[in-house]
């Protein structure tokens, strides 16, 4: 059975997210910064009559973080555990079906929260474990942020 993955770009890095957790892909969305909030969860957006947290993947990837008033071209709405979160990204592409046999252990990309790697767009892209990232934020810890060399091997297209 193929694994459905959504390519998304944050800064110069293309990564893959499991399509089954992506509820919607929106355009540019306004968000409200929370004073004093951590960079990984800096604010809130309104979605379908509810407020949901904004999760910034740029924080662990070493890319330029969302500053107050800044937006990105696309906003992924993801179901993660019992939460729904908004993930602003610079670009998103159509879902790709990847054969599980083509998913390999992480050796090239070295991005935090990478589960596996596969080739797409003639590059090696990391499959990111968004649920674990969000879970660690909500639990008050993001241990992978302390890793050295993060962001240094992002796949730029």
């Amino acid at each position: 059975m193929m694994r459905a993955l959504v390519p998304a770009k944050i800064g110069q890095a293309w990564v893959l997210l499991d399509a089954d957790i992506i509820r919607e892909i929106l355009g540019q969305e306004s968000w409200l910064p929370i004073p004093g909030a951590r960079a990984e969860m800096p604010g809130v957006i309104a979605w379908r009559g509810r407020a949901i947290p904004v999760v910034d993947l740029a924080a662990p990837f070493g890319s330029e973080r969302l500053n107050n008033g800044e937006t990105r071209a696309r906003t992924l709405i993801a179901s993660v555990a019992e939460s729904i979160v908004a993930v602003p990204v610079d670009a998103a592409r159509e879902v790709h079906g990847v054969n599980p046999a083509d998913l390999r252990p992480v050796t090239v990309t070295q991005l935090p929260y990478a589960l596996a790697e596969t080739e797409l767009f003639e590059r090696v892209l990391a499959v990111i474990d968004l649920p674990r990232f969000v879970g660690e934020i909500l639990g008050g810890a993001t241990p992978e942020l302390g890793r050295e060399g993060i962001g240094g091997h992002a796949a730029a297209l």
Binding site: I34, P35, G36, A37, M41, I45, A46, A51
Partner: protein, 143 residues
């Protein structure tokens, strides 16, 4: 009228506070008065509301305002540096703060959207006053 979602504050209008570091609102029903910070000498300096809400603390300034906030039998003065406006109308919708953010913003109960955009954090007067230590002289606590 505002269009509150479930659990929204029972307020028909909001006093909004626009500062350099954030935008907040309080239900007007909870604001007893708005005073100039220099108008009346106070036995105890009012607390910095922005700092309580996660913004950097600021030194008192001439343009600051002091809000007298009341919830139930408790009343306290808080200082705010920023622009104050009244908002009332159908364009404002109140959305409960997501549970994931309650630990980060424990004094906020709702997000107010204007024209569908998240614009303000609505402070719960109950939570605000419950979070504060009693006034040193007790003069502001009991109504």
């Amino acid at each position: 009228m505002l269009q509150p979602s479930s659990g929204a504050p029972a307020a028909s209008a909001l006093l909004t506070i626009w500062t350099e570091h954030g935008q907040w609102a309080l239900p007007c029903a909870a604001v007893v008065s708005v005073e100039s910070a220099t108008a009346t000498p106070m036995a105890e300096p009012p607390l910095d509301l922005g700092a309580l809400l996660g913004a950097p603390s600021s030194d008192p300034a001439r343009d600051d305002r002091v809000l007298v906030v009341q919830s139930g039998q408790r009343r306290r003065r808080v200082r705010i540096a920023g622009q104050l406006h009244l908002v009332e109308g159908s364009a404002v919708q109140l959305l409960p703060l997501p549970p994931e953010l309650r630990r980060m913003s424990p004094l906020v109960s709702h997000v107010a959207t204007v024209g569908g955009k998240p614009t303000l954090f609505v402070v719960s007067p109950e939570r605000l006053l419950e979070s504060l230590p009693s006034a040193p002289h007790g003069s502001e606590d009991a109504v």
